[in-house]
């Protein structure tokens, strides 16, 4: 069962350098959310704040009624057991083989027997497609395998929240698609709340229930996927399209003058414009249905009147008749 994460007015700066401020969002129970943003907007910093590795300067992060920013260290270590975190490079322990890496959380936190540990570890390694690779060292395998092993390790304690830092970095498109499917399947199986930090548009368009975007030191928006995918906000639109036209520049952001100059010069788009809301990934046939879908539908219908018209139309047209009249 997933856990809700409520972030209120979070701000973080390193010395004088402000990373972002006033970030407010709620990761709904059991749903998959994606946090987008150009490189260098502090997405990874946000993730590290969520798990308490970095201390935000202001705001609060509430999980199960505990504020992570202000709780004691002891409490923090307790709450962290709810988290499964997949770091960018897997962050495997270099001195242990894959099996010991995946077994590590079980050996540290549970009193399970070695036979039981073996059963759980084998199951999780099968799940990420690493069956029989347990004796290899992290230094001997490819980046994609390290990532999958890191995911297996994040899963052994049956976490309520899974945080994934750039699941696509260093992976080819096919492997990225597999990882995306894996995350959706996982969500269907254990109903964990998932937050994916990425700048891969494909992942953002097909995997999540909710999307948020960090830009210019703040959270531009966060809400149901339809809202961001149909948004007319220039930065969001530019990012989704991966084009050069818009407020995002090579180094973090452009100023208005450069932007106007570019528009005046009549830049061509360079690529086909991507619009519309593609269908979301479904769990692999045979797996249970995602319980989050039902919950999300109810939640979105309740806030429907607050959403922008374009998103509203898309959501309504995606409903099938049973949804509209069935209840």
């Amino acid at each position: 069962m997933g856990v809700e994460v409520a972030v209120e007015g979070l701000g973080k700066s390193f010395g004088r350098q402000r990373i972002w401020q006033d970030v407010t969002l709620t990761l709904p129970v059991g749903e998959i959310s994606v946090l987008l943003g150009p490189s260098g907007t502090g997405k990874s910093v946000f993730l590290k704040c969520l798990v308490g590795l970095l201390k935000p300067n202001s705001g609060s992060i509430t999980i199960n009624g505990t504020d992570l920013v202000r709780c004691s260290e002891h409490k923090l270590y307790d709450i962290r057991k709810l988290f499964g975190v997949l770091f960018q490079d897997g962050a495997l322990f270099g001195s242990m083989n894959l099996y010991d890496n995946v077994a590590f959380p079980l050996r540290e936190h549970t009193r399970k027997s070695e036979t039981e540990i073996r059963r759980i570890v084998t199951e999780k390694m099968d799940m990420v497609g690493l069956a029989g690779e347990g004796t290899k060292l992290p230094g001997e395998i490819s980046g994609g395998m390290r990532k999958r092993a890191g995911l297996a390790r994040a899963l052994v304690l049956d976490p309520g929240i899974i945080l994934v830092d750039e699941p696509d970095s260093g992976l080819d498109p096919v492997r990225t698609a597999y990882i995306s499917q894996l995350l959706v399947d996982l969500n269907a199986q254990i109903d964990a709340t998932i937050l994916i930090v990425t700048h891969n548009i494909n992942v953002a368009r097909t995997v999540p229930d909710n999307i948020g975007m960090l830009f210019r030191r703040e959270l531009v928006m966060f809400g149901p996927r339809e809202v961001l995918l149909t948004s007319e906000e220039p930065a969001v639109k530019q990012f989704i399209n991966g084009s050069r036209i818009g407020p995002i520049g090579m180094s973090e952001e452009k100023d208005e003058a450069t932007m106007a100059a570019e528009l005046a010069a009549g830049f061509d788009l360079g690529a086909d414009e991507i619009t519309g809301v593609p269908p979301q990934l479904e769990p692999t046939p045979g797996l249970p249905e995602r319980q989050a879908v039902r919950r999300r539908k109810d939640r979105v219908m309740r806030i429907l009147h607050t959403l922008p018209p374009a998103a509203r139309t898309t959501i309504l047209s995606s409903l099938d008749p049973t949804d509209r009249f069935g209840r």
């Binding site: 004088r16 350098q17 402000r18 590290k48 798990v51 308490g52 590795l53 270590y77 307790d78 962290r80 057991k81 988290f83 975190v85 770091f87 960018q88 490079d89 962050a91 495997l92 322990f93 270099g94 590590f104 959380p105 540290e108 936190h109 390790r153 030191r217 952001e253 100023d255 208005e256 003058a257 106007a260 100059a261 005046a264």
Partner: protein, 275 residues
């Protein structure tokens, strides 16, 4: 370039920098080093104790520092014995050569040699190990998995450094005294009986205690400094290299300062034999 009129500047200027208090950074680093030392002491008594890690580290530190320690101890003991030998001959106190050299070796040379080797051989490896784990986010991952890296990794290492220091100190003392004996008796033609008999003329049991206490404290300092620099390296592989370098230098500085303080205290507190 067309400048649109009446556009507010998009870049928000950062607030003006406060002028930092001079020496603030050094004070902060010192404070954090102390904080880690306290945390290590606190976590030492927290269960579960990482026994396997402790044994592994103990074995590792011992294996890298044992041979160099013995090899350094022989010439060190010899130099002291030779020096004292010629000095005591000049003032006609040959019968005390053994006593003086055994005191010098046990109280000063042995703990310092031990600590230099623990810091130079064991500490540098420990710092490099922790440093590379830090930059590969392994330490972060461990914290996120709900495991305190200080308790899991640092405490066994520091305790191992202290334990090895205690044993190594014994080894260096024995080898140093034997070296001194060899050079004094064989090279300078000293009297074997007088050399051995004079041991107990000046030396007393507390000298051995202070020697061991010093070694254990030095081991603790070497371990904590190496761990601190290892857990807070600079950026990238170069940062780890710098951290290792600094950890050895800082440890050496602290050791000699501590040695001065401990020696002064000892001489004040424990009355010399026969006084």
């Amino acid at each position: 370039m067309s400048q649109p009129p009446n556009q507010p500047p998009t870049r928000v200027l950062p607030p003006p920098a406060r002028k930092p208090f001079p020496g603030m950074a050094a004070l902060r680093e010192t404070g954090r080093l102390y904080a880690l030392a306290l945390e290590v002491v606190r976590c030492t008594f927290k269960r579960p104790f990482q026994f396997r890690e402790f044994i592994g580290q103990f074995w590792f530190i011992a294996s890298v520092s044992l041979l160099p320690a013995a090899l350094v101890a022989i010439p060190f003991g010899a130099v002291i014995a030779l020096h004292l030998g010629s000095l005591t001959t000049q003032i006609g106190a040959q019968s005390f050569t053994g006593a003086a050299s055994v005191l010098a070796i046990i109280q000063q040379a042995s703990p310092v040699v031990t600590a230099l080797l623990i810091a130079g051989a064991g500490g540098s490896a420990m710092c490099a190990d922790l440093g590379s784990r830090t930059i590969r986010e392994e330490i972060d991952a461990m914290e996120v998995l709900g495991v305190n890296p200080v308790q899991r990794l640092v405490v066994p290492r520091v305790l191992a450094a202290m334990g090895v220091a205690a044993f190594l100190n014994g080894l260096v003392s024995v080898v140093g005294v034997l070296g001194g004996y060899f050079f004094n008796v064989i090279m300078q033609g000293g009297t074997p009986g007088a050399y051995l008999a004079s041991f107990s003329a000046l030396a007393q049991l507390p000298d051995l205690w202070i020697s061991e206490i010093k070694a254990v404290i030095f081991g603790f300092v070497a371990g904590v400094v190496a761990a601190y620099r290892g857990l807070n390296p600079g950026r990238g592989p170069k940062g780890v290299g710098d951290a290792v370098n600094q950890s050895v230098v800082i440890t050496f500085l602290l050791l000699f300062l501590l040695n001065l303080i401990l020696t002064t205290l000892y001489l004040q507190v424990v009355p010399p034999k026969g006084a």
